[in-house]
């Protein structure tokens, strides 16, 4: 999985998004210990302080738990993970409707497109 970053948006926000996706996709499974801040920052080619801010945001969301002895671990709490998954999914759906609207489709027409795609 590559880090794709856009310099015109705050980097820490993008890092948080991508880390979240990695967690939800199972790249970092529940209970797994994350690499250190420095390792992640080096991998992404970003400033460690920026990565630290993104990781702190993950802690705040409850997706990760930081322990002095065990380090930063992905939560095992399924409820939290599901909640985040649903939240992101809502965002994707909203984006879909917005993009379709830009092309001139109403919500009903967009939904039809989806169903037709499903039946293929």
């Amino acid at each position: 999985m590559d880090w794709r970053l856009d310099d015109s948006r705050p980097i820490w926000l993008q890092l948080q998004e991508q880390l979240t996706r990695r967690i939800l996709s199972g790249h970092y499974p529940p209970g797994e210990k994350l690499p250190t801040v420095r390792e992640l920052a080096a991998e992404a080619g970003v400033n460690p302080n920026t990565m630290q801010r993104a990781l702190a945001a993950l802690d705040a969301e409850g997706l990760t738990i930081t322990n002095r002895t065990t380090g930063r671990v992905v939560t095992k709490d399924e409820a939290v993970l599901e909640g985040m998954r649903a939240c992101l999914a809502r965002g994707i759906i909203e984006q879909f409707y917005e993009s379709a609207a830009e092309l001139g489709y109403t919500k009903e027409q967009a939904l039809e497109l989806l169903k037709r795609r499903q039946n293929l």
Partner: protein, 243 residues
């Protein structure tokens, strides 16, 4: 409250009649990677030379951890000039030994490892190396010190993109997290991702200093984009293609 790592108060510096720094005020904390950005002639190199003790201000004060640049600050400041700065007749390992001799914070093994990784034969004389390799050797020496302040003057200018990645990742991987790295550059797009903070320098003064992500949020632009806006020069409109 501990003193900031770098403090510049009302600093003036001229070269002959030409004023380069005009009443510059600056404060930089430790533990940051800071970009010093500005067009050519803004005074970036001059500021770095003042911080490294190679120049003295005509007026005003430059302080590194509360001290005027001198022998004591030089042992905690690691400076990388934008040109080669060693005797050509020296071998790479001679330079490594020199750094080890004079700098207590120099990590010889790290330097030798980095040379090995880049397949640089340390028994070779500097004058036999290509320009790009010389610059890498300089960078390796500077970054192998556990300094409190790293001053890098245009570390990636005139270097091919692959080498640029190496240099940036070297900076990220090797700097002392308790220290600060001050990078002066005009190649902002390549560098902005590793920066914590940026300082915009124009006409010898600091016109903006801000944390990078805050800047992105406020301006909804990359630092590179903002730089182009701030330092835009009007293009010549009297030529053949003008309407």
């Amino acid at each position: 409250m501990s003193a900031a790592l770098i403090q510049c108060q009302d600093v003036w510096k001229s070269y002959g009649k030409k004023e380069v720094l005009r009443g510059l005020n600056l404060q930089v904390e430790s533990g940051r990677i800071v970009g010093l950005l500005g067009p050519n002639g803004a005074g970036k190199t001059t500021l770095l030379k003042l911080l490294s003790g190679l120049l003295q201000p005509e007026q005003g004060m430059v302080l590194i951890e509360g001290e005027v640049p001198g022998c004591a600050t030089k042992s905690m400041v690691s400076y990388l000039p934008d040109k080669p700065y060693f005797a050509d007749w020296m071998k790479v390992q001679d330079l490594i030994e020199l750094f080890e001799d004079f700098y207590a914070d120099f990590d010889r093994m790290k330097a030798e490892q980095m040379c090995a990784v880049l397949e640089i034969d340390i028994r070779r004389k500097m004058k036999t190396l290509s320009k790009g390799t010389k610059e890498k050797v300089q960078l390796i020496l500077v970054m192998s010190r556990r300094a409190k302040l790293y001053l890098l003057d245009e570390p990636i200018a005139g270097v091919d993109p692959a080498a640029r990645d190496f240099i940036l990742s070297t900076i990220l991987n090797n700097y002392n997290p308790d220290g600060t790295v001050l990078i002066s550059t005009h190649l902002i797009a390549d560098v902005e991702r590793i920066l914590d903070e940026v300082i915009f320098l124009q006409n010898g003064q600091v016109i903006r200093q801000e944390l990078v992500d805050n800047l992105r949020e406020k301006e909804r632009k990359s630092v590179d984009g903002l730089f182009r806006d701030v330092f835009r020069t009007k293009s010549y409109e009297g030529g053949e293609f003008s309407c």
